[in-house]
Symmetry: C2
Subunit: 242 residues, 2 copies
């Protein structure tokens, strides 16, 4: 994948269901991906009160507590985070972004149909949707972590399955890298995600999982997966420049 992808997003649930050996495989894959020059995003969707959030952050992008630094973290560059706990639950992740040059992607609007149940609730007097309220917080949180590129270390997850939402959130979040699940197997097409790129055609990471994982099987799997990835890369590149 390395030549056609900027990053890999590893879904923790797939590893976690196999317990300790699953986590061993996860760590191994993080190392392999890093050696191939890929950014590793741990799609863990963690979130907790501050003291526990600090441990989650340490696990992926920070440094585990104690043992005189002799225990490595799992080796990710970024992690997806659930914002439900609010500011004090997010702070440890911000601290590690700042200290270790890491990144996070905060769930703003997820790609699944059930995302309407809570994320689309009308909030306040204006009113706006719950996910728009989250986006305002993400912009505020991220404003303290803007890098040389002009983008923040605090990104947002926005389902590519909601094109109008995507355009709206790109306006609310001009400096926020967007991580876009939903392209491919979940139904979103390249033209629909185009609104997520900034004026330079940058600032968005479009993820494809099932459309690559299930691209084929048997001996020519690697070739088929690479073909699928390259086809999507070309399609997305064109869309980003449109």
């Amino acid at each position: 994948m390395a030549p056609v992808a900027a990053a890999v997003k590893l879904q923790l649930a797939c590893f976690e269901q196999y317990g300790p050996p699953g986590f061993k495989a996860f760590k191994h894959l993080c190392d392999r991906a890093a050696k191939a020059g890929l950014i590793v995003i741990a799609d863990a969707k963690r979130g907790d009160i501050g003291i526990s959030a600090a441990a989650y952050s340490a696990a992926y992008i920070g440094r585990p507590d104690g043992f005189d630094g002799k225990i490595d973290n799992l080796g990710a560059d970024a992690i997806t985070v659930n914002p439900l706990f609010g500011s004090d639950g997010m702070q440890p992740f911000f601290d590690d972004c700042s200290q270790y040059g890491a990144g996070i992607f905060v769930l703003v609007k997820t790609s699944n149909p059930g995302s309407v149940d809570l994320q689309d609730l009308s909030v306040g007097e204006t009113p706006r949707k719950f996910y728009q309220e989250v986006a305002v917080l993400v912009d505020k949180w991220g404003s303290k972590l803007i890098g040389e590129s002009g983008n923040s270390s605090v990104g947002a997850v926005v389902g590519a399955t909601h094109p109008r939402v995507l355009a709206d959130l790109r306006e609310t979040l001009p400096r926020t890298p967007l991580l876009l699940p939903g392209y491919g197997a979940q139904g979103a097409r390249a033209a629909e995600v185009a609104v997520a790129f900034d004026s330079r055609g940058l600032g968005a990471l479009v993820t494809a999982s099932r459309s690559i994982i299930y691209a084929g099987e048997g001996e020519d799997y690697a070739a088929r997966a690479a073909d699928a990835a390259e086809r999507m890369r070309a399609e997305l590149w064109q869309a980003s420049q449109g």
Copy 2:
């Protein structure tokens, strides 16, 4: 702890920060606790789209996919779950509750100060708070999983640090087991959590972590921790019968 506690709640973040060996220790502790006759609650606060939620559920309370059932799950009886993804993200957990007699506790109102940021937002025209909206969903979800005791397999996490909220949510959730963090180190007292028990003095699990873990150190640690636990048990028992 076994003689004075009904259950243990293990915070996943504490284990996860140490990677594969951390998960090995977690699994070991689950086994030990089960042998001591304790209910094991994996405080994992997981949540994702359906296909990934199914893997998380399998990891803790269901059965891992593939390998002909040869890989065990981590051995919990219940798991804490983040509801942000909505109904389709919750369904796999409900399925495993039903199939394996397991339980879940859905985050409704967390114990930390930052919980106001999103969970206390005013929602809809009535208006009510976001967490009340989550509670209504929890009651609906749980109504399909009522057991012989009259309680549901779908519980709720409500911070004991908010006594008024607790009383309000007990009304919305008459058949929902409440898991109450915030007692002890986080500041809530026994009298304040009393409203969480039902008319039989049941239906609530009050958790204490730091007040037991840090009860002492050195050779008499086990004795001190047991003393602290027994003191809290007695205090809470009295409060539940008040």
